[in-house]
């Protein structure tokens, strides 16, 4: 309101809105589509608006293509990358690293978590050590890991597994410890022990906590992948981005970033899907699942 430049920018908007208002057909279509698409579309309105503003900004010359290329140009390079097969190859490599690291780290975290959670002895033996290692940011180990494994696949998988392991370990351990004692006692009175007690009472009671750990560690997984691929790699999405940077191909850099965002979102959606499937007995998830 105070700066004249700002006013110049905001002025056209009310005018556009006014011209849009009399268009009753557009309004009805919008209402219809909102009603039909339901609540699933609403979360995408804001990103869509940003995209429109971005394209407008680039077309009007407010944003230099060196800073941020127009969405349309990015789309064109995206198509080119897909056609050349370069994108798919790098995507495959990145996802392969991410998921093999995640799998190894998750299995180790789960096994250790169940072990220390169900046995006081194992807790005494292991928990302190795990907690000490946990306090080292795993990315700080990157130089050491490169010295050990070089810049090949092993170093990335190792770093991801290391980062993923701790959230899953912690959540499994605390999940087991917070299983309702009364339910365990009930299980014993009703003839459950050993594996039966674990299968029917302890494991399902720990599951909500484990799923929190999985969602958290998926975030860690992508973060580690990006860092590892950006610092030292000869393939993968991060390598593609760093390579493009050297040739000032901002569009490709942006594509890599957007793909990371999309992959992160997809992984989170998969984790939510697991929650709805495995926790359908839970009042909270039963409501959202319905």
């Amino acid at each position: 309101m105070s700066g004249s430049g700002k006013e110049a920018l905001t002025l056209p908007q009310p005018a556009q809105m006014r011209t849009a208002a009399p268009d009753a057909g557009f309004g009805r279509r919008l209402r219809l589509s909102v009603a039909a698409g339901g609540r699933h579309l609403e979360p995408w309105l804001l990103p869509l608006l940003l995209l429109v503003l971005w394209q407008a900004g680039a077309s009007l010359g407010w944003i230099s293509s060196r800073v941020l290329p127009a969405p349309r140009d990015i789309g064109a390079s995206f198509v080119e990358l897909v056609k050349s097969g370069q994108l798919l190859k790098n995507l495959q490599i990145s996802c392969g690293r991410a998921f093999s690291g995640f799998f190894i780290g998750a299995v180790i975290g789960l096994v250790l978590g169940f072990w220390t959670g169900t046995s006081r002895r194992m807790e005494r033996l292991l928990d302190t050590s795990v907690q000490m290692v946990r306090n080292i940011p795993h990315l700080a180990l990157t130089p050491l890991v490169i010295l050990w494994f070089g810049i090949g696949e092993d170093s990335k998988v190792f770093l991801i597994a290391l980062g993923v392991m701790f959230p899953i370990y912690l959540n499994t351990f605390h999940g087991i410890r917070s299983v309702d004692r009364q339910l365990i006692e009930m299980g014993r009175v009703y003839g459950l022990s050993g594996w039966g007690l674990f299968r029917d009472v302890i494991l399902p009671g720990t599951l909500p906590s484990i799923l929190v750990g999985i969602r958290f560690s998926l975030g860690v997984m992508w973060l580690t992948l990006i860092v590892a691929e950006t610092i030292a790699a000869s393939s993968g999405l991060g390598y593609m981005a760093m390579n493009a940077r050297e040739f000032f191909q901002t569009d490709i850099v942006v594509i890599a970033i957007l793909l990371y965002a999309l992959l992160g979102k997809l992984a989170d959606m998969a984790a939510r899907g697991l929650e709805r499937r495995w926790l359908k007995w839970h009042p909270e998830f039963a409501k959202t699942g319905a």
Binding site: Q182, L183, E185, M186, G187, R188, V189, Y190, G191, L192, G196, D200, V201, P204, G205, L207, L279, K280, W281, H282, P283, A286
Partner: protein
């Protein structure tokens, strides 16, 4: 209809020895938690098939006694015998209904009734659910049930094992007055049908008088009153005899407490 047909006939394996109650004998049972002595050389004998209600103020040791008979506690001294055997661990002939329903939230109603059952358990679990009138809720999640329904599921879960001793740790305490009376009638009916020995801990003297063959008052970790209730069943709450019995127990509970204070 389903419910009636299930009621006429006992559960498949109640026909054998499992269906009948067992005798209970508690001899000089003592138990302390830290400096607090909860049970002091408590003696109690219960005949097979009897319905005994234990009343007493909070912290008098009545729940601890029950937990010993369930095999969930180890006595410091003395003996807890069930069917002539020392009870030092959980046993298949004894089941407990807790104050809370303690249903597993991740199992359906039917799955909860089937906890700990082996082999082809579904038919048996469904039969037990019919006995408590909840067969139509078999596939639902526990969180969709009311408090009274949850306790009925817990009762079915106990009955499906055809216990010879059924321990009730104040299971109706959290229910509203009407649901509570319904549950009392249900418990009494199933006890009459199946003949297990029943031991019910309660704060509610009226509940004790309505259900029990004997009302036991526990004070300071020992039996202070052992009163046979000879009213004919089914018992009507309004009648003078019922009120007189209730008044008798209530008076005894309160008098002693005041005497202690002075």
């Amino acid at each position: 209809m389903n419910r009636n047909s299930a009621l006429e006939r006992p559960l498949p394996d109640t026909a054998g020895e499992n269906g009948r109650g067992v005798g209970v004998s508690v001899q000089a049972l003592s138990r302390s938690f830290g400096a607090l002595q909860v049970l002091r050389r408590l003696d109690l004998t219960i005949e097979a098939g009897q319905f005994v209600c234990i009343v007493g103020r909070s912290g008098c040791g009545k729940s601890t006694l029950l937990r010993h008979l369930a095999g969930l506690e180890t006595p410091d001294a003395g003996l807890a015998l069930v069917n002539g055997e020392e009870r030092n661990r959980v046993h298949g002939n004894t089941r407990v209904m807790f104050q809370e329903a303690r249903l597993l939230p991740w199992k359906t109603v039917l799955g909860n009734v089937g906890v700990g059952l082996k082999g082809d358990w579904r038919a048996r679990a469904l039969a037990a659910l019919s006995q408590v009138g909840l067969a139509d809720r078999a596939g639902d999640w526990p969180f969709t049930l009311s408090g009274g329904q949850r306790q009925r599921v817990a009762l079915a879960r106990a009955l499906v094992h055809s216990p010879r001793l059924l321990l009730f740790d104040e299971p109706l305490g959290a229910l509203d007055a009407l649901t509570r009376i319904e549950m009392q009638e249900l418990i009494e009916r199933l006890w009459l049908e199946q003949g297990f020995t029943a031991l019910l801990v309660t704060h509610d003297v009226a509940e004790a008088v309505a259900l029990a063959d004997r009302v036991i008052l526990i004070e300071n970790g020992a039996v202070a009153l052992d009163l046979p209730i000879t009213l004919p069943r089914p018992r009507e709450r309004g009648v003078a005899d019922f009120a007189r019995m209730e008044g008798l127990v209530l008076k005894r509970v309160l008098t002693h407490h005041d005497g202690n204070r002075q």
